[in-house]
Symmetry: C2
């Protein structure tokens, strides 16, 4: 067994400003002479007053806005923001929204100063995959806890024409600051709250449910996030329950699920995300709702490869103890069942049939994985398209 | 009950380079044209070859050295490094050593460019407590996991003449990078390894053992570090057991015990450290060995104030479960006993008598706390000198 934390480099420069009434802090976080472009998605940030609070905090700074960044932000939309910046000369970007807006702004910040065609920032058959060597500075105001994009340098962009979701990351695409106001979640509907819990849960699982390397802190911390999500999940998805402590725990858990605090020096999987991305592309299913369908099937199909970690997950996260009269496999199967039940209890789909898909939809999804060069993925690079077919089939 | 994560600001810019054979990375981490001053403590960094590896990594850069920084680094020694820098003009500092060397270099980095008398960076009756607005850039090569100084901005400096240990912190005193090679711990004697485990354990406890604010991630992560230290402690202090995974977990746990990942938005205590500092000043006892004496007594004397967290600590960290037929107080007392036994099992003292002190030494320690203005400390600011006397007495 591989043993011991792998060599790693870790740095996360993002400043987090967390709590009540923090948007006003923008005035001290953005240079006084900055010309600011505020980027957002739909109308909710204006409807619920957040946009006005941001503008008030900007004070006398020159600013403009770019709205309409969609869920699963598209290159086609984002490139318009890049053109606007090149034409009008903004030097600081402010993302106000959830993970889609923030992911989009990361591309815009880098694309606006990229030498060459911004499409070449992406690989996977879409562009040349050239390195990102600079980006405009940007901050974020988070409205939806889910992706942790507010405290990492990852971005996933959708290419409508090419029917692809491609990610990129650069040391230059960390937000300079992110403002986290738990009360911003009070206006979210149940479905988005559930998506945030599930997205966070599966971000942790991608870094945790692989094979043991005896990285004790990383394991304990991942388990702590999972236990927290299981504990608060039912209250979080009660959209009328505006308990501050609950929403604060939700927001901080989501950020820590993918800011790399739990993953330095450990193997990671991400096959669940790859398979889920194809379902979003092909059928427009919410990202999180594809993950709640794929993960349980992934746990079943990859049970042997993930055996040791599945057993640890059963014992530590679900408290299925050694003194329970169960075999190891019974413990694992029970933990998988509890995971499914947890997702379902949040109102999330856990089967193809829950989103009106069936076996006839699988060949297209597998072909898309091949087309997007998503072969030999997962923690050991041994996850084939046949494995993908088996996982989709197990999720029927 | 105060409920919910408090407003907080979090940022930790230090880059961690962790693993095997990483010192060579210095060449890519320090500017090519830097004039470097290497600061260290005793001869061990030269004896065991680390100094030579650092010099090799510096390549053609101009460098000089400043050795002799003692455990509990003194202002009197450090100010000599400040003078050397002012006289010879170094623009990058490199700390090679443990927490004492790194704490010392933080003061040197700020003191060398401080406008005015560097003593005024300190408060607590020693100086004017003026703000630190700049510092020379510096990196560290860690030799002794214990203080987490390699990934925070805190520094504790001892003033021999004034018999005081004073801390300061500034946004400018984070290391730019820290190199963590777990194999560097292979040459440490049992006593220093035990000190590192205990220092880390109590850093976590200062942030954890206060009162609950329903900060679930912070609590789970603190508990995860404590569980890890309890699990690996016996193997870590076996100085001949050079198991890489064990030492890697030890080193990463020590860093995370005080890099603020576990403490944003939660109350903190630090009274155990305050009481321990006076014992080090008066009797020259190792910092960690004062903490292993003070903490158990602190838990007993402050049982009522810390009741809820002590119970959570018993149940989650020591697995004293609800189904055990114990009253809550019995669970708490058992957890305190297990904590004492853990420290003792590492070879650490847990009573005044273990370090040849007795009740006649208490008045002087309490007077020193008053002299150093360490009154009304702890998480509620309600810890009086009478409480201090009670804690010292409970530790006899």
């Amino acid at each position: 067994m591989e043993k011991g934390i792998r060599n790693f480099e870790f740095q996360n420069p993002t400043k987090i400003v967390f709590g009540k009434d923090q948007i006003k802090r923008i005035d001290s976080l953005i240079p006084q002479d900055a010309k600011v472009l505020i980027l957002y998605g739909g109308g909710s940030v204006k409807k619920f007053g957040m946009f006005d609070r941001v503008v008030e905090a900007l004070g006398t700074r020159e600013w403009a806005e770019f709205g309409g960044i969609e869920a699963n932000p598209t290159y086609e939309t984002l490139i318009q923001a890049v053109d606007k910046i090149k034409a009008e000369g903004y030097d600081y970007l402010l993302a106000v929204g959830g993970g889609s807006v923030i992911d989009g702004v990361k591309f815009v910040a880098a694309g606006a100063v990229f030498d060459g065609d911004p499409v070449d920032m992406f690989g996977s058959g879409v562009g040349k995959g050239l390195p990102v060597t600079k980006a405009l500075p940007f901050g974020t105001v988070l409205t939806l806890p889910a992706t942790a994009s507010e405290m990492n340098n990852n971005s996933v962009v959708t290419f409508v024409e090419k029917q692809a979701k491609i990610s990129f990351a650069s040391p230059h695409t960390y937000p300079q600051f992110s403002i986290l106001e738990p009360e911003a979640t009070y206006t979210l509907p149940k479905r988005q709250l559930a998506n945030g819990v599930i997205d966070s849960f599966i971000h942790v699982m991608e870094a945790y449910l692989t094979y043991p390397v005896d990285a004790k802190v990383q394991d304990r911390w991942a388990e702590g996030l999972l236990q927290t999500l299981i504990e608060i999940g039912p209250d979080v998805v009660d959209e009328d329950n505006h308990d501050y402590a609950t929403r604060a725990n939700f927001m901080w858990t989501a950020t820590n699920a993918l800011n790399r605090f739990i993953s330095p020096g450990v193997p990671q999987d991400w096959a669940t995300h790859q398979l889920g991305h194809e379902m979003t592309l092909a059928f427009g299913i919410d990202h999180a709702r594809t993950l709640s369908i794929v993960l349980p099937a992934m746990m079943k199909v990859r049970k042997q490869q993930k055996w040791d970690k599945l057993l640890q997950y059963a014992e530590r996260v679900w408290d299925i103890r050694g003194d329970s009269n169960l075999t190891d496999e019974e413990k694992i199967d029970l933990a998988i069942k509890k995971t499914e039940d947890f997702f379902a209890s949040l109102g999330a789909p856990i089967r193809f049939s829950d989103v009106d898909l069936d076996e006839t939809d699988i060949p297209g999804l597998v072909e898309a994985l091949v087309r997007h060069k998503k072969e030999n993925i997962s923690e050991r690079g041994d996850f084939t398209t046949e494995d993908a077919r088996a996982v989709y089939t197990a999720a029927l």
